[in-house]
Symmetry: C2
Subunit: 639 residues, 2 copies
């Protein structure tokens, strides 16, 4: 058995209640926790789950009962962690990918002395113990409950730990039903490609999904064959045999060069005869009173306590925090695409800030994240064409103290929307997503490559920040801003080259805007961002030639929005024209409408018809987001 | 060789130009097209791709060149179809999942006599020949270009053909890079689970992705092992050997019980020395002039013509069109959840309309799509927990004349957003998606299960319709409306039970709204939908008790929106309160703001903070979308 740095280990097994003889075991080594105690702890976890869900009147006890032994062996035997330190630093980390089994996680944490919440408060509005895991409990690094995401996050943690030279391991517990999600296989290929032998994925094959049997029911060989084909080492075990689980986890710990999968054949509702392997019991608690008492009586003696003493690995060489400070060096008027300026800024960050990592989905030569790779190849993750896993691994790495920048085409961020949504609930310290090639201004590649929904999508994520540079200076500054900003930040870049507008010293704080043109006699306000800001500027010139003064606002911070500046413009001019290279729904136009609260006339110019291949300028004209369209809309307001 | 119904087959091979001797072959049977002709056709397709992309100045010639033999053998030897009938009825269908190879599809269709477009117009705004396939060319059933989607659609077509007893087959051509997408494996498991032996997936393993080598480069054994583990028959071939391809396709045609995968080892840029297997040539045309001439000269003699004579399979027993006409039978005041009424309506549709099918992602007992299954199990698809593939197969089935209703929790529709976006560009005859469990009103399950972004997401899809019933009558009527509506329709249902509001005879057309309370002295307008309409109604009563008259509008058609009614309300009252169980961005509030164009004060009540587990009523109060919050907002407007 491997030696660990955390000093001696003490584990105590004790029967505290009941008529059975009192047993007290005190050992110096985790290896000495006996299987009898682990099996009894599994029963105790089941008891907690039955009781807490019965009290809540909802929840998924049977999904907890299938994995009680797996959780027992992990928490009370295999994993090295300090119950007093939820940071997980230099310790093993557990991700409950099958998030509906939250009650068994809460029970294990409680029994391990890691939380002291009352399990009976499960699912109450005043409780941290939610129906599915969220980081309100600090032991939860990533919110789960949308299936198929936990392994991606765990792979990101494992990758970051490899980068930092940490020996600490990552465990993810998955349901069999969730393995139907393609993202599980994205994570599986990622983990084997990057040789994440510090990752162990455990599949709880309990045969029953929510509404019926799973595809493969108890054919554990199917899962084994698939994991092997995806480059994993695999052990198949009886998921209720603590000895077998213990041995498989031991093999996983020793195996090198590949991630390790444990395929555990289990019984849903295990331990209670009227729940075992029965359909119709998913997401359904037993009733308090007679039904609960009957269920509990079948569990037998659950009197056991196992004390988890703190254990840690030797400290990993986590990166020193670098200073995030970029200084753009562009000349006004210089033609640069914001996507390229984004890449250049990333490369600067790579040099000054060791905690920054970059990920890309095989588009690095288009998003220009390849510039980061040139400077810091070891901190660049080629995530290949698997955007869900890219976002999931980025989130996982963020929980290891990294500042991830994950880039792909804006349209392909839609592939990862469920992951982005869940990342929002995971409250990450940092997570920057960059969508390039936004809108119809990409031109000839056609609609499949045009991000026209990304602003709507990203704004709707409750805790997000949405940034949208219009020139190279703002692109670099917004990369800097993003790296400083907590939570999920989205940066939207564009394909075409446009002239630099700003002085290199200009600051771009979150929630601000830039008023580029204004005068005392402004008749109308033009709001754009990205490529359409340049159209707004051209429109302003055209209107000026006709004697009409227009204010021009660069809405570089789409969310939070600079409502004050917009309301002032609404009050001081006769109306606002918004122009955006995005769908009419959920983008800049509606954000501005919401900011001014309906107190000003707003003409929204946006993409309202299915676009097609064509030259950028042709398309912008055809879809009414060119300077000419802005001029016409301004005149409609003034007429 | 199998006999086909389409009469005799004539294939003609002819060298029309060049110094080589004129060869003319005229045969009665497709089997007699010789490999020399097929190989030469591959070279001719390459020529077209090099020329058309050079002319366009953009595009992906090298990705076309790797699959030229595969496409040649498919179109000019293996597939049975009528070049005059793009419907694909009783004929084999081809899906180009690697959509960036569009030029080779256009070239094959042109050579087969299926289109007469000028290939040199590729990517021009006035051309149907877009950069990635779209249904502007009617031979394209589903838009591709976002990778990993074609196999899902193809599986849906194959499933529908099995249902109809058609012998016609479905071919999908995938890139190796795209197999990193988990959705490919969702489709793979779906196809083997449902024994779709009429589906053939062909993997063009050309080693190079967009920005570098793929994960497994030329290790074709990896793909073979994975496909086998996912339940497929597999042949591995040299993808430039027409004989080997022909034989593999023959095996695929004869194999029963499993889908068939052909793993083809190919060379990107094949045929031109300076392009072959070279990095830096993805998405890059050769230059017109000397570079193009050099490339073309290396292709050798490309003079060949193969006439594709129409061939069809015996007609399948496609379902007769039933009449879509539902009559709700609810009593006013009856407490029914809209999700349950949706399920009941689906079951009625199952009975009256044979072309309707239903799909679900293992949530059928929650979305109530199980009621459809009870009536028509053979037309119900359990898609398991793989929402991307569920939407992709629904789209594929739609192209076979089905009216698919695909249901899952609203939050999990976010998993399929890229598929939904692409389905919008596919212009399907019908595709109905239903998201249940929308919003915080689901209660204790917590944020992971709460759909709070779905309205933003669905509204942003350019060609979508978004419907949102508030009671059982409107739920049933909107199911009826959805089944009549072309294109993508989204129906949002709710978990809680609410009283029936409408008479069973009430009609709910797309683009309408219902004004439930109004008077000549309305001071304020309250707009809600779903659960919040009931809060608005309670608020109206509370305001009435204080002598304040409020108009109440049910916004059941969120998109298109009833702008006229809203503008009238804006003009006739002092302001509008919108209340929605959704994020503040992109939902009902912003839709109403956009509809009134900033001509009225609008107070938007929506979910603005990360929610948590709790009782529905507690959460609605805590997040300010309850009747009390509506009353307060109305008073703010009137103060």
């Amino acid at each position: 058995m491997k030696e660990f740095a955390g000093g001696e280990t003490e584990v105590e097994t004790r029967r505290t209640r009941g008529t059975s003889p009192r047993v007290r075991t005190k050992v110096k080594d985790a290896a000495a926790v006996d299987d009898v105690a682990l099996a009894r702890m599994a029963q105790k976890l089941r008891k907690h789950c039955l009781e807490s869900t019965a009290e809540a009147g909802s929840g998924h006890p049977t999904s907890c009962m299938s994995c009680a032994e797996l959780v027992s062996v992990l928490f009370f035997r295999e994993m090295r962690f300090d119950p007093q330190d939820p940071s997980g630093r230099d310790a093993d980390v557990f991700v409950l990918s099958k998030g509906h089994a939250a009650p068994v996680l809460w029970a294990a944490l409680k029994e391990a002395g890691a939380i002291d919440d009352d399990l009976a408060t499960l699912r109450r509005i005043d409780s941290r113990l939610e129906g599915h895991p969220t980081p309100r409990v600090p032991w939860v690094r990533v919110a789960t409950g949308s299936l198929g995401q936990g392994l991606c996050a765990a792979a990101g943690m494992a990758w970051a730990r490899k980068l930092d030279g940490s020996e600490a391991r990552v465990y993810a517990l998955l349901g069999d039903g969730e393995s139907a999600e393609g993202s599980v296989w994205e994570a599986a290929e990622f983990a084997s490609f990057y040789k994440l032998d510090n990752l162990c994925g455990i599949l709880d094959v309990n045969r029953l999904g929510q509404s019926g049997p799973t595809m493969y029911q108890h054919e554990v060989g199917v899962y084994e064959a698939r994991l092997r084909a995806f480059g994993w080492n695999v052990a198949v075990v009886d998921g209720h045999d603590v000895r077998a689980i213990r041995q498989a986890l031991g093999r996983a710990r020793e195996a090198k060069g590949k991630p390790f999968g444990i395929v555990a054949r289990t019984v849903k509702g295990k331990g209670v005869s009227f729940l075992e392997d029965k359909e119709g019991w998913h997401g359904k608690p037993v009733k308090k009173g007679e039904e609960l008492e009957k269920a509990l009586s079948e569990l037998g003696d659950t009197a056991v306590e196992i004390r988890v003493e703190p254990r840690r690995y030797p400290p990993g060489a986590s990166a020193p925090a670098g200073e995030i400070a970029l200084t753009p060096e562009y000349a006004k008027g210089q033609e640069v695409a914001t996507r390229e300026a984004y890449g250049s800024a990333l490369a600067k960050l790579a040099a000054c800030c060791p905690q920054v990592i970059a990920l890309d989905g095989d588009t690095k030569n288009s998003t220009f994240s390849e510039k980061f790779k040139e400077v810091a190849p070891e901190r660049f993750v080629e995530a290949y064409i698997a955007e869900q896993n890219m976002v999931g691994t980025a989130l996982g790495a963020a929980t290891e103290g990294k500042i991830p920048f994950a880039s792909t085409f804006a349209c392909f961020m839609s592939r990862a929307y469920d992951f982005i949504r869940m990342a929002g609930y995971s409250n990450p310290p940092h997570l920057v997503l960059c969508g390039s090639h936004s809108g119809i201004s990409i031109g000839e590649d056609g609609p499949s490559q045009m991000g026209l929904e990304d602003l709507a999508m990203m704004r709707a994520v409750t805790a997000s920040t949405v940034l949208y540079p219009s020139d190279a200076v703002s692109a670099e500054r917004l990369v800097e801003t993003a790296a400083h900003t907590k939570g999920i930040v989205y940066i939207r870049t564009s394909r075409p080259k446009n002239p630099v507008l700003y002085d290199n010293r200009e600051a771009f704080p979150v929630g601000g805007s830039k008023t580029l043109r204004s005068s005392a006699k402004d008749a109308v306000t033009l709001v754009g961002a990205g490529v359409t800001l340049h159209e707004a500027l051209k429109a302003q010139e055209a209107l000026a030639r006709e004697g009409i003064a227009a204010r021009v606002i660069d809405l570089y911070s789409v969310k939070p929005i600079d409502a004050e500046t917009l309301r002032r413009a609404a009050a001081e001019t006769r109306g606002i024209v918004t122009v955006e290279d995005h769908s009419a729904a959920g983008g800049i136009g509606e954000a501005v409408l919401a900011a001014v609260g309906g107190r000003a006339r707003v003409e929204v110019l946006a993409v309202r018809e299915i676009p097609r291949s064509g030259k950028a300028a042709e398309l912008m004209k055809a879809h009414g987001i060119s300077a000419e369209a802005v001029v016409a809309a301004a005149k409609r307001i003034l007429s």
